[in-house]
Structures are given as structure tokens and as C-alpha cells.
């Protein structure tokens, strides 16, 4: 591929302020980006520029890929962004693909004797360490004033979690779809969702990051990119049937499932993202920076990272001018 030849230059050199190709590292999550990919918005938007889609499975690999200059845009969970920013990775937040809602939840087994959240004391709960659910669960513990050491926390990937669940080796897990669905089908009881937590200020999200050098070199392209995402959100809201159909194909699941998965996420258009609850504007940074900062601080208490930077570092890592611009241009029309 072109990656090795363009290792350190963040994108292929193009004419003027347009690169010859943009490289997007996506993950298979039923959000605006995947919808945009499914219905080909980018290809229309970026005429003359090759759109190179690269699928990723973990934040770790996206981090590496952006740092090595192999991709220009990437999707990472908010807890990983907090780590990345703390480690000074060369990227900035430009968009929230989705705020995690009902698609991540804490389910517990029927006979486990857990009825309220405080019953998790003394139980075995599985989460994939380092993921957004890990952060969500630990935050929920803190919120309820439960000491972390009173719960047996197990590090498991979702599919292994289901196996352990079936074997009765765990009492519950904080996990996402489709495993979450299987556990619910298996009689699991949803105790807490990330949507609940977000209402209490513990926001987790799938975040779009773009490499710093790309932002500097091609700001116009970034704007266009956000426009495309914004259009996808609007398309979803206005043309739900078609959106679901396209997404079902992309996800390789039934349309009803696709619709369900899409609804579980909180989709935000550009103007919503520019609001103070989220990215905010250049002059008036939104709450998301604080959320990242909280996450970072939290990770420090977990000894996962040695230290978290100050709030303004997180604020600087959020480039909200693009959503603002898109919002203005939209409302201006």
C-alpha cells in the first residue's frame, strides 16, 4: 500500500490544499461514519480524492496507525482518547461519532441475587479492561460509593465473557452488542446502561480523531469530512428506513437488528456537538473536555497511566471549530 511510502508525511501530497487520498480508520459500529460509508457520502463529497477505508478492531491499533501516519482519521473510544491525549499522541478530537447509550450496559445473571447496583459487592463482574465499559463500570462504583476492591473484576473479551456467563462463572458483565443481546436473551437483567450514566455526567463516546498534521495541512478537507458526517446524521433522522437498510448490509445483520443497534446509540449532529454539553466551540469549550479529563484522572487512580494532564491540554486536544463551522454554514443557509 501507500502507507510505507508516506510513513511520516501524514497524507499523500496533493495539489494545493487537497491530498490525493484520505485514509479513514473505521470500526464496525453502527454510527454516522459507517452510515456515511454505507451510502457513499464521502465518495461524493471528495470527488477526485481517493477514499481509503481501513477497518480496525482496537483503539491500540488505531493509535499506532495514526501515529505512524498510516491513516488520517480514526475512531477510538473516549477512554482511549483520554489515554492517548495524556500520552501526547499526534491527534485531535474533531467529532463525536456517537455517545454511548443503551448499547453498553451492565447485565447480571438471574440467580445472582443482584437486584440493585449496590448488590454487586462481592460478585464477579467481567469487563474488557481498557474499554469504555471498564471506565463506565468503575465510575458507577465510585458514584455509588462502593470501594472497587469489594468487587471481583475480571478482564475478558466479550465473546469469552459470554462463554463464562453460560458456564455460570461470572455474575454479570458490562458489555456491548451483540454479546449484550445474547446475555439478555439468556435471561440476563440490565442493571445499568451507559445512557443512564451519561445522564449523570459520566459520558462515554466513540470519538473521531484526526491527525494533527492533516488538520494543519488540509483544514478544508476536515470541514468537508465533518459535513459528510453531519449529513449522515441528518439522513438517519429523515430517512430512517433507507439508513437502516444500508446499515444492515454493512453490519451483515437483519434490518430489525440494525435498527435496534442504531437506536441504542446517541447520534449527534454538528450543531448538537457544538453545544456546551459536548465539544463546544473554540471559545467556549464544551463539557466533553472535562469528561476526558475525568477519565484521565480516573485512569491515574487505576495506575493505568502515570499522570493525567491538566484540563486545558484536553481542551486543546478538542478542535471544535469544524463542528462550529458546519453548524454555521448549515444554519446560515
Amino acid at each position: 500500500g501507500s502507507s510505507s511510502s508516506t510513513k511520516q508525511s501524514n497524507s499523500s501530497p496533493g495539489t494545493g490544499d487537497q491530498p490525493t487520498e484520505i485514509r479513514i480508520g473505521y470500526q464496525v459500529i453502527p454510527n454516522a461514519e459507517l452510515l456515511a460509508k454505507a451510502i457513499g457520502i464521502y465518495e461524493k463529497k471528495f470527488e477526485g480524492v481517493k477514499v481509503n477505508w481501513r477497518q480496525f478492531d482496537s483503539a491500540r491499533d488505531v493509535n499506532t496507525a495514526i501515529t505512524s501516519g498510516s491513516i488520517d482519521f480514526g475512531l477510538i473510544g473516549s477512554s482511549s482518547v483520554a489515554t492517548g491525549v495524556a500520552q501526547n499522541l499526534p491527534y485531535q478530537v474533531i467529532w463525536l461519532h456517537d455517545v454511548i447509550g443503551d448499547n453498553e450496559a451492565l447485565v447480571v445473571k438471574k440467580g445472582s441475587g443482584i437486584n440493585t447496583f449496590s448488590d454487586v459487592v462481592g460478585k464477579k463482574i467481567a469487563v474488557p479492561f481498557g474499554s469504555t465499559t471498564h471506565y463506565s463500570f468503575l465510575s458507577a462504583l465510585k458514584l455509588n460509593g462502593i470501594d472497587q476492591s469489594k468487587v471481583t473484576l475480571l478482564d475478558m473479551q466479550p465473546q469469552d465473557m459470554l462463554a463464562a456467563w453460560k458456564q455460570g462463572q461470572i455474575d454479570g458483565g458490562y458489555v456491548w452488542y451483540p454479546i449484550l443481546g445474547k446475555m439478555i436473551d439468556d435471561g440476563g437483567k440490565v442493571l445499568l446502561t451507559s445512557r443512564d450514566l451519561s445522564k449523570k455526567g459520566i459520558v462515554t463516546a466513540d470519538v473521531c480523531v484526526a491527525s494533527k498534521s492533516f488538520i494543519q495541512k488540509y483544514p478544508a478537507m476536515v470541514t468537508k469530512y465533518i459535513e459528510a458526517l453531519d449529513e449522515a446524521v441528518k439522513f438517519y433522522r429523515s430517512n430512517k428506513g433507507e439508513a437502516v437498510k444500508a446499515m444492515a448490509k454493512e453490519l451483515n445483520v437483519s434490518e430489525s437488528d440494525a435498527g435496534l443497534f442504531m437506536d441504542q446509540l446517541i447520534w449527534l449532529d454538528a450543531s448538537e456537538q457544538a453545544g456546551s454539553n459536548h465539544l463546544g466551540t473554540t471559545n467556549n469549550k464544551g463539557a466533553f473536555a472535562q469528561a476526558l479529563k475525568d477519565t484521565g484522572e480516573f485512569m491515574v487512580t487505576q495506575k493505568s497511566i502515570p499522570s493525567a494532564p491538566a484540563l486545558d491540554v484536553y481542551q486543546q486536544a478538542i478542535q471544535s471549530q469544524f463542528v462550529s463551522k458546519v453548524k454555521e454554514s448549515k444554519s446560515g443557509k
Binding site: 481501513r54 480496525f56 501515529t67 466479550p158 465473546q159 462463554a163
Partner: protein, 271 residues
């Protein structure tokens, strides 16, 4: 006994001993198929993890017809095999000479062996990031990872083969005027062929098991990626198809290597 079987293979064929073995293999295959049936019929293992043979077959046919996420099953397989072959051959061309040299010269061994011994036990995860940094997210980094997986078994096999070369064989070649290089090329190398082939077979299996790890980063094709992707979405039927395809091609590749081995070293065991 095996030895006899080998010795007069042509006569044996006529007498049908070989077909007896095929028969046993067949029975054992049928046994495992039945076991599979029974386990799924009795629902000993939840179907989400362990699809029934019928289900797997249907998925297989479906994957053959409509592919998986945009690429045909054959394409996925071919993509993986290509990566593997490139990695395997690069490893063969480097690991075997270096392993032989390390066995031959204690100086070369002193220089390279610690490095190789060091990287050998490392999990791919620990250096894949570095490979991506250096080689990007394209095929190069995947091939590099597979290369590293294939390297070690062949290196060790070649090195240990050298130690087993009958000393007087080397002496006789030297007395016939072979210089160090010629001894290496014409005596050490062929003497080690049996062990090298064992190393190649181990390496082939090893490369295959590393395939999923290699296709974890930024791939949208490859049989390893397919298995990985299916596992994320609990599509255990797709996983099973992928796994069976990997297993069967693995057996075929191994048979191929064994076939080449018996052509190349007919003298094995005849000292």
C-alpha cells in the same frame, strides 16, 4: 511397521495396506463428525459457540456463493495464503542459512543467537505495534509478523541439525578439498535437510496460527480476519467455516511439505 511399509511401497500398494490406513483415517474423521453431531444435538455446548454441522455447512455454501463482507471466501483464503507464502519463503531463505551458519560457526552463533533467542518467545502483540510503525498498516507489516513467526522454528531446526552431523562426514569432505563454504554447502546443508523439513513443517503451522494476529490490524480480507471479525459478532458458524478452511488447507500444505520431503531426502533413515 512403518519402516517396512516405506521400504517396499510399490508392493505394499498392491496388497492394499495403504488403503487400510486411509480406512482408519476415514473412520477417525467420521468419528469426530459424529461427535460433533452429538454434542450439538444434545446441546452440551451452547449453539452460539458451537454451531451444528448442518448449520456450518449451510453457512459454508452461503459464503461460497455470496462471500463474507464484500469478498469471496476464495479471495479471503488466497489473500491469507499469499501473505503466508511470501513470509514463509522469506523466512526459509534467511532462517535456514543463518541457522546452519550458527550451528557451524560458534562465532556467528555468538553474534546472532542471543538476539534470535530473545525475540523468539515474545508475543506478536508486543512488537506488532513497532512493525506497524515501521512498515505501515499495509501488507508489509502483516508479512513481517508472519515472517518472524516462521523464522524461529526453521532457525532452531537448522542449527540443531548441524550439531547432529556425523563428524567424519565433515572430515572426509575436508580431506577431499572442500573449503569451509563448500563443506557448508555440500555436506552440512544436505545432512540437515531432514531437520530443516521438520522445522519447515512446524513453521508452517506456526505461521498459520499467527495469521489471525497478523490480520488484526486494518485488514478487510484474509481468512484470519474473517475468523476474527466473525468472533466479534458471535458468528460462530462463520468462524467454524473459517477454522475448517484453515485446518484443511493446513493439512494440505503439510502433506505437500511431506511429499516434497520424501522426494528430496529419499535417503532418510538409510544412513
Amino acid at each position: 511397521m512403518e519402516k517396512e511399509v516405506k521400504k517396499s511401497l510399490s508392493s505394499v500398494r498392491k496388497r492394499g495396506i495403504v488403503s487400510k490406513e486411509i480406512y482408519i483415517t476415514f473412520i477417525s474423521a467420521v468419528f469426530f463428525l459424529l461427535l460433533w453431531f452429538t454434542i450439538t444435538k444434545l446441546k452440551i455446548v451452547p449453539e452460539v459457540f458451537f454451531p451444528s454441522p448442518e448449520r456450518t455447512w449451510v453457512t459454508f455454501v452461503d459464503l461460497l456463493q455470496s462471500g463474507y463482507k464484500g469478498n469471496s471466501l476464495f479471495y479471503h483464503l488466497a489473500d491469507s495464503l499469499l501473505r503466508m507464502f511470501i513470509a514463509f519463503f522469506l523466512a526459509l531463505l534467511t532462517a535456514v542459512p543463518l541457522g546452519l551458519l550458527s550451528g557451524y560457526s560458534s562465532k556467528i552463533r555468538a553474534a546472532f543467537d542471543p538476539l534470535i533467542e530473545f525475540y523468539r518467545p515474545l508475543p506478536p502483540l508486543s512488537y506488532y505495534t513497532l512493525l506497524v510503525l515501521w512498515f505501515g498498516i499495509g501488507n508489509e507489516s502483516k508479512i513481517a509478523l508472519l515472517y518472524l513467526a516462521a523464522f524461529a522454528p526453521m532457525y532452531i531446526a537448522a542449527m540443531s541439525g548441524v550439531k547432529g552431523v556425523y563428524e567424519d562426514r565433515i572430515h572426509s569432505a575436508e580431506s577431499l578439498g572442500a573449503n569451509k563454504w563448500q563443506v557448508f554447502r555440500y555436506i552440512i546443508f544436505p545432512s540437515c535437510l531432514p531437520e530443516i523439513f521438520t522445522g519447515m513443517r512446524t513453521a508452517m503451522g506456526f505461521t498459520y496460527t499467527t495469521l489471525v494476529a497478523a490480520e488484526m490490524v486494518a485488514a478487510i480480507s484474509g481468512i484470519g480476519w474473517m475468523v476474527l471479525d466473525a468472533s466479534k459478532f458471535l458468528r460462530s458458524d462463520v468462524m467454524f467455516v473459517g477454522v475448517i478452511v484453515m485446518g484443511v488447507t493446513g493439512i494440505l500444505l503439510d502433506r505437500l511439505l511431506r511429499g516434497i520431503e520424501s522426494k528430496v531426502i529419499p535417503w532418510k533413515g538409510k544412513g
